[in-house]
Amino acid sequence: MGIDVAIIVTDVPPLITLAAAQSLDYLLYPTLPVIIPDAVFHEATYAAGKLGAQEILEWYRAHTGQVRVEPTEAFQAEMMLQEAMPGRRLARDLGERAAIEIVRNYPLAENGRALLLSDDRDVERLLVFEPEKAILLTTWDYLRQLEDAQRIQSADAVMEAVRQAGRDSPRRDLWSTHDPEIRDAVRAVIEAAQRGHSPEGKE
């Protein structure tokens, strides 16, 4: 039996934006499954000290019942390439390819809908496969829905919190190095996702 409605976070900006504002729990408010492609999760969390990375990792660990990191063939193939060619940078479009894979394969019910949370204006490409099932929403749109339902005081206040976090953030040269502890934690999450379930949703 398929899922009626799910939130699929199809790129990194919504995660980093909400993490910077200490507001990741807002994703849980509609009590819907929250799906994050493995490549998106990796991109958002792999660097130590990166804005929001630690918050995203801890938030995921605290909510594994509702939040799932979904494995993709695109990310696994990229990881194999990296092992073969150490130091190779991840492909720029990896997150998008992983998201497309999830959108195509996620086991929605016949009348199911996927809320695709994305701040990338090129994301319309994701709609090619399931235009009637996919609903695009930016972080701003999502926050406005929360505000309209009086679940948060103000979408603007959240964005102001993000701005404040950006102003206070350390410079890149202080946080570009990879912390082995973070790197290992991210790897463990993704390996668990690969072991635990497939993109088809089989446990």
């Binding site: 990194v12 934006t17 408010y29 509609p30 809320l115 090129d122 829905q145 993000v162 890149r172």
Partner: protein, 77 residues
């Protein structure tokens, strides 16, 4: 990105903040590493985050999302 924002980088940030440039292209054009860099650069130059363009297609998506989200957010189902 370097600590100081050069004029051409500021122009790219302004284009992003006013919705004339997409996220991925802005990151690439800045020579930034990722979206976290972009947030920091925007904030440190006192620029706003872009809002989605008010197109009919966008409004239709928001309306569909609203129909799903509002009952759940207000009543839990």
């Amino acid at each position: 990105m370097s600590t100081a924002t050069r004029p051409e980088q500021l122009e790219i940030l302004r284009a992003y903040a006013t919705g004339r440039l997409g996220t991925r292209r802005a990151i690439d054009a800045l020579g930034a590493h990722d979206y976290a860099d972009l947030i920091i650069a925007l904030a440190q130059n006192n620029l706003d985050f872009p809002k989605p363009a008010a197109t009919p297609a966008h409004a239709a998506h928001v309306a569909r999302a609203r129909a799903i989200l509002q009952p759940r957010l207000r009543h839990g189902h």
